[in-house]
């Protein structure tokens, strides 16, 4: 059974991870402060980029392009479709690998402790419990608490207008 832990918000971007530490038989609460910083956002948004860079290097090495992984299909009624399953599978395998590396790095940078050491301190042996912990932690890092959380994809910018043009 893992130790009880809690993520507490102490500011707009500042949080504390608290858990019971029972060293020397005297229970005490251990606190690790962390920040949802620009650096964390950069690291999170870099996952896809790093995965793709590796994937492109691989594709180049075998003389293929991404469109080679898309299959053109003609249905019985004559309509043309495109099956992207192979490409999506290929990209997701690279993204998974990059995510594992990024998770370790982000935990080390923000909580100042390697992931395996942290899980040990929390007595977290069950992978499901570790997954729930990671989910909660990364939700905090990703969620900026604003309505428009798709930033930078759907940025909350002021309207940009020009005399003879319109937004796309």
């Amino acid at each position: 059974m893992s130790k009880k832990y809690e993520f507490r918000s102490v500011g707009l971007d500042d949080f504390i991870l608290e858990y019971e530490d029972k060293e020397d038989e005297i229970p005490k609460v251990k606190s690790i402060p962390f920040r949802r910083s620009i650096e964390t956002a950069k690291a999170l948004q870099s996952i896809n980029a790093e995965a793709r860079a590796k994937m492109y290097a691989f594709l180049t090495s075998i003389g293929k392009t991404r469109s080679d992984f898309i299959i053109k299909t003609v249905k019985s009624d004559g309509t043309i479709g495109y099956d992207e399953t192979n490409y999506i599978e290929l990209e997701s395998s690279y993204t998974k690998e990059a995510s594992i590396i990024a998770v370790n790095n982000i935990v080390l940078r923000t909580l100042k402790m390697p992931l395996d050491k942290l899980l040990k301190e929390l007595d977290m042996e069950d992978p499901k419990e570790a997954e729930i912990f990671a989910k909660k932690f990364f939700t905090i890092l990703k969620n900026s608490g604003e309505k428009d959380d798709s930033f930078p994809r759907g940025a909350s910018l002021e309207p940009i207008s020009t005399s003879s043009s319109e937004e796309s």
Binding site: G11, L12, D13, D14, R35, R36, S37, I38, E39, T40, A41, K42, Q45, S46, N48, A49, R52, A53, Y56, T65, R66, S67, I70, K72, Y82, E84, Y87, I88, E91, T95, S144, G145, E146, K147, D148, S150, F151, P152, R153, G154, A155, S156, L157, E158, P159, I160, S161, T162, S164, S165, E166, E167, S168
Partner: protein
């Protein structure tokens, strides 16, 4: 959310990326010019939400504003030839490299390229 922001949110278009070094450098320059001159390390340690709020109200005279504008503007709707040419070039110059854009956006581009019979590296 105003109509412009709604359009942007629906389009899921990447208009700024913290992972793209060029964008991050421009954001740093914007912060130093507008708020306080801080070290790069201190900038990276700024609260993300706090910075997003500042970026959300970026003044029109900031170079970063022009960059983002060039990524969102619909060139096809510009009537003036010279202006059209200018924004077309700006769009190309300021384009975010493919590796930094969201998967669903990239998938859409890829699908379009395949349908149009163009290669997509």
């Amino acid at each position: 959310m105003n109509r412009y922001q709604q359009v942007l949110a629906r389009s899921h278009k990447t208009i700024f990326c913290f992972a793209y070094p060029e964008d991050l450098t421009h954001a740093y320059a914007f912060y130093c010019a507008r708020y306080e001159n801080i070290k790069w390390e201190d900038f990276l340690n700024l609260g993300f939400t706090e910075f997003k709020k500042k970026l959300g109200s970026i003044p029109k005279d900031e170079p970063l504003y022009e960059i983002i504008k060039s990524r969102t503007i619909n060139v096809a709707k510009i009537k003036d030839k010279e202006e059209k040419k200018y924004w077309k070039e700006m769009k190309k110059i300021n384009e975010i490299p493919q590796i930094f854009i969201a998967s669903n956006e990239l998938d859409k581009k890829l699908k379009e390229a395949v349908i149009n019979g163009k290669g997509f590296n």
